[in-house]
Each structure stands twice: as C-alpha cells, then as structure tokens.
C-alpha cells in the first residue's frame, strides 16, 4: 500500500486516490494539424519508465484534485508530490540496483 502525500491534504492511503498514468503529456496545440503518427504518439505511446517516474494522481476520496508525484517504479519510493503546473522535485541519487 502506497502512502501518497497529497499537496493539499497531506499523507493518505493509496485507496483514497485514483491513478492517472504518465504526467506532463501536453495536449497538442492544434490537433487537426497532427498526422496519424503524431496523434498515436500523443494518445497511446508511453514512457513506461523503469526508475523514477512522473505520474498523475487524483485524490478522488479527498479533495478531488489532480496532482503529480515522482515515484520509483521498482522500489515504489515516493520522492515527492507537486501541484499541477509546478516544477517536479529534484531526483535523489539512484539507490543501489535501481536506475
């Protein structure tokens, strides 16, 4: 069970949240100008990082606000949470064995 630090409510259990996948995927400025390859890249292609990963969470059973979290996808270590539009926290030095 993850303990997630909501930027508004503080640390809560994972069961209060809903996962939103990879963070910082900007919607294209002018979708009509995209070709099929670029549209597929926006819609479907994902980083799926093994290591420190920026992801979105929704505090659905709390303040109901979206925010971002930096979490390690092998150790599940959470580096920090930050509000939408804010800069992500600095990454720590990689732990032993993790990239």
């Amino acid at each position: 069970m993850l303990n997630i630090d909501c930027p508004w409510c503080g640390k809560r259990h994972e069961t209060e949240f809903r996962y939103g996948g990879e963070a910082h995927i900007a919607r294209p400025e002018d979708p009509a100008m995209l070709d099929d390859t670029d549209w597929a890249a926006f819609l479907f292609m994902r980083k799926n990082t093994k290591g420190y990963f920026a992801e979105r969470w929704l505090h659905s059973h709390g303040c109901r606000r979206w925010f971002n979290v930096i979490r390690h996808t092998v150790t599940h270590e959470i580096v920090g949470a930050y509000k939408m539009g804010e800069k992500p926290p600095k990454l720590p030095k990689p732990a032993g064995g993790a990239k």
Partner: protein, 416 residues
Amino acid sequence: MVKYSIFTIARNALTGHKNWPKQWRSPEPKATYDVIIIGGGGHGLATAYYLAKEHGVRNIAVLEKGWLGGGNTARNTTIVRSNYLWDESAAIYEKSLQLWEGLSQDINYNVMLSQRGVLNLAHSLGDVREGVRRVNANRLNGVDAEWLDAEGVKDFCPIINISKSARHPVLGATLQRRGGVARHDSVAWGYARAADALGVDIIQNCEVTGIKREGGKVTGVETTRGDIAAKKIGVVAAGHSSVIAEMAGIRLPVTSHPLQALVSEPIKPVIDCVVMSGAVHVYVSQSDKGELVMGAGIDSFNSYAQRGSFHVIEHQLGACLELFPIFSRVRMMRTWGGIVDTCPDASPILSGTSVEGLYFNCGWGTGGFKATPGSGWCFAHTLANDAPHPLNTPFSLARFESGALIDEHGAAGVAH
C-alpha cells in the same frame, strides 16, 4: 533427446532414476546467430521451438536474464480459454487452444492440460447481454460456448452462491467447456527441452543491455555475457518490453503493472472448474495439489516490482467470499505479483518495428498464458518470413495509427 515414455520410466527405474539426462544444455553463447529471442518465458521458448520446427531455422539463441519460466510463466493462474469477442482475437486464441490440445504429444512433455470448463459470470443485466452476445460471437467463429442461467451455473459449480440477495448476484455465465487449466512450469520446461533438441541455444543469466543497430537495421545485442551478433531479434520480454524498446529508440503503447495472485492451503477437491468474474474481480480454480488458485485485477499504478498493494487482494477476497461462502475459513498461503504489459485495447502486439530485423511480441497484459502456443507459432512465422501470419496481421503496431484497435476489455475479463 531421450523420448519420455512408459518404457524410459521403466528403464530408469532399474537404475534408481539416477541417470536421467539433463532436459536441455546450458551452452556458452556463440558469436553470432540467425535469430535471437530476448526472453526465456513460455512465449519466447515457444517462438524458438516453432521457428526451429516449422521454419527450419536452426541457429537460434534464447537469452533469458534470470532463469527459464521464472517471470510471468511461473506467476500466472494457468487458465486456458479462447472465448474472445472479436474475430481477430477469436482466431488467434482459438489457434492457441488447438495447439494446447495437442501440445503434450507434440513436445513429448506432459503439460497437464485439464479442459474442465471455464465460467465467466454475469452479475448485471449489462453483463448478461454482453455474455450472451459473446457466446453468439464465439459460436459464429467456431469457438465452443454456451450460456448458462443462474440455476445452470449452480448445476455446473455447486458451491457457488446464487442467492438473489447477494451484493452482486450471479445472473448467469458463459461456459467454454474446452477451456481449463495447464501446468505452467511444464509449458516452459517442455518447450525448452523440445527447442533444445532442435539445436536452439538456451542461455540463462544473460541480460540484454543494448540493441546494436547499423543503418536502421539490427546487428546484434549487448549482454551481461558479452556482445552477440544476430540478423534478426524477437523481443518477448513481457513487462520489460518498454525497457528493451527504449534501447532501440522505439516507443510502445504499453504500460507495466503488477498483477497479483495467491494460493490457499491445500484442501480436498471442492471446485472442478474455473470460475471467473470480471465484474467483481476474482477468478478461482483448484490446483492438483488442492490449493485454491486465485487472481486479482491489476494494481492501478505503473510498476516493475513484482509486488502489489494489499488492498487489491482484500478486495478480491471479499468478492471471492461473496461467491463462495464455503471458503470463509480457508487460509491463504502465498501471494505474489508478476509484471504485465498492458495495451490500451487489451490486445497484444506481434509486430515488426521501424528498425529492420527487430520484432516485438508483447502487450499480452493479464492474459498471456493461454496464448503461449499460438503466440509463439505466429511470432515464429513473422520472424521467419519477415511478414506477419494472417492470424497476427491485425495485431501490428500500425493499428495504433490506423485506429483499427481490437477492444477486448470485456473478454480479457478481470483486470485493466
């Protein structure tokens, strides 16, 4: 290869079973291969086997970073079925089921296929309509399927609770009688032994760390045991597909999640079929040892950790007890997680890529075990001919650009 039969058992009994030969060699990697398969799970080993057997390719290596079948092949709930909704899926999963039905004879290894019937429960009017629709679709595609009402479900699986007062009452179920379970380890070991006998080099403890390319074409791999050259590379790395793709500068539409399963203490035979419910998220069967084997839905977050959160198991067991009150005092023995590579449309990818000679077989998500023989068979064809077989043509990477997705979220059952 020593053929396994009652006579070899008898002969080896005379020497106290001390002289059985090793089932496969552990060769040093050669400098170069025609085809390298990355990933020594069921799908990778099946690919190597069918490449050698059906297409006459003999200079093949299977590179496995750990040990054979130690990933998802060892971590699934061993369910085999082919009752998928769409024509494309029905065709490839049915091909797989047909291969399952002859597999023990084909590879001379008992994979203990037990076609005990698979129920997929319906708990709402929507589920019922979807279930009946899928039964009809299956029949049109030549896949055996039946619709059972609640009483029929109770007849088929007497311990199930069909009370109307349940939170999610059982209103009926689809039944595929040819579905069932198989012995997961035997599948990996059997394919490994059969492939090895055809000259395939199976190299364990050999992690791929880079994909070497020249002019948009693969030339080989970098590994923890040195560089190995290859004309073609087939990546069958399940949850780690994205990691390998990144080495080759390719992006995939898959995300990796933990999928948890658990077994109970062994008990006497109590359930002789497989029961699955996509709506309340649980699936149950009983192993030959007597353990109840249960699976959950995926954990929502991305992970490569082979473990998940406890609340997923709690949720799953709550659903299980509502369906089977008789299990209320059974103790659970072990839980574990595997890393599944899920696709946006819950269908797999068996496809070439923008890099010449580099092929991916991934995205099987939560349901890869049942597809092991068919997946290997189709992927072997794709690698040998540099073109997909008609069975896997629809499962190309190009579908994410064309929009011809194959949405199997319903038939994929639990998870996603």
